[in-house]
């Protein structure tokens, strides 16, 4: 990602503290998807993935706060949207397991990470027990 000359055209931030934030998360992602010119299907995938990731933060962190940063991306070839979900929650113990379908901790869908991964073009997760989690997703315009 360092190779890409990023043009930070627009940036938005949302605090994820309770489930009313999810509507805002989806609204902001939709706005950015439209600004980047994503197709309807790409937009829907981005919003769905974002909703899942934001929901993770609410479900798996009790007092911890989470934040979402959304920005436009543009390199010499294409445009897209990058969304960064961070929280200072307990962190993910076993990242490999969490990224495997069928893994479940709380609730019936676990962390929904494999599903979110399939919905977006790029996903990077940084997490360790005790130091919170950061998930970065990117959706490009085809």
């Amino acid at each position: 990602m360092d190779q890409i000359a990023d043009h930070l055209i627009d940036q938005d931030a949302v605090t994820i503290a309770d489930d009313t934030a999810l509507v805002e998360v989806r609204r902001v992602l939709r706005a950015h998807a439209r600004a980047a010119g994503l197709s309807l299907v790409e937009e829907t995938k981005l919003i769905t993935a974002g909703s899942e990731l934001a929901r993770n933060i609410l479900t798996h962190t009790t007092d911890a706060r989470g934040r979402l940063y959304v920005e436009q991306l543009a390199d010499s070839r294409r445009r897209g949207v990058r969304a960064i979900f961070t929280d200072d929650g307990p962190g993910i113990d076993d990242l490999d397991a969490a990224l495997t379908d069928g893994f479940s901790t709380v609730g019936s869908m676990g962390l929904g990470l494999p599903g979110s991964r399939r919905l977006v073009d790029e996903m990077t997760i940084t997490s360790s027990p005790g130091s919170g989690t950061t998930v970065v997703i990117v959706k490009w315009r085809r």
Partner: protein, 123 residues
């Protein structure tokens, strides 16, 4: 008893409701309650939930829909989801939420035919 958040239409012994826009979790839960109560109160034999107004369905809404359908079944009725949009269908498959047990139809018209078929086959 929950307030009526969304209008409920009745066609013969089938109830038809529509979910639209971007709903927050609390509202979704309240709608769930409203629907279950409506089926219980009216003794309807079937319910169609039209989601063509939903731009995105995440795992939460999917779970709630599954719950509503299950509850309605327990009340002796049958339910179907109609109007899942193409983009939403694609995203749901990618997301990997199991939706196989849900009855679905393209629109209300096909949904009514589906419910009749289910009743005929003694579901």
């Amino acid at each position: 008893m929950s307030d009526d958040l969304i209008p409920v239409m009745r066609i013969a012994d089938t109830l038809l409701v529509a979910l639209q826009g971007d709903l927050d979790d609390a509202t979704v839960i309240r709608i769930e309650e409203q629907l279950t109560h409506a089926v219980a109160r009216t003794g309807a034999a079937g319910m169609l939930i039209d989601v063509s107004g939903l731009g995105a369905v995440d795992s939460f809404i999917a779970r709630v829909l599954a719950r509503v359908v299950a509850m309605i079944r327990l009340l002796g009725a049958e339910a179907a989801i109609v109007g899942i949009q193409p983009a939403v269908a694609i995203a749901l498959v990618d997301l990997g939420v199991p939706m196989g047990h849900l009855h679905t139809a393209l629109n209300a018209q096909q949904g009514l035919a589906l419910l009749q078929r289910l009743r005929r086959s003694g579901a």
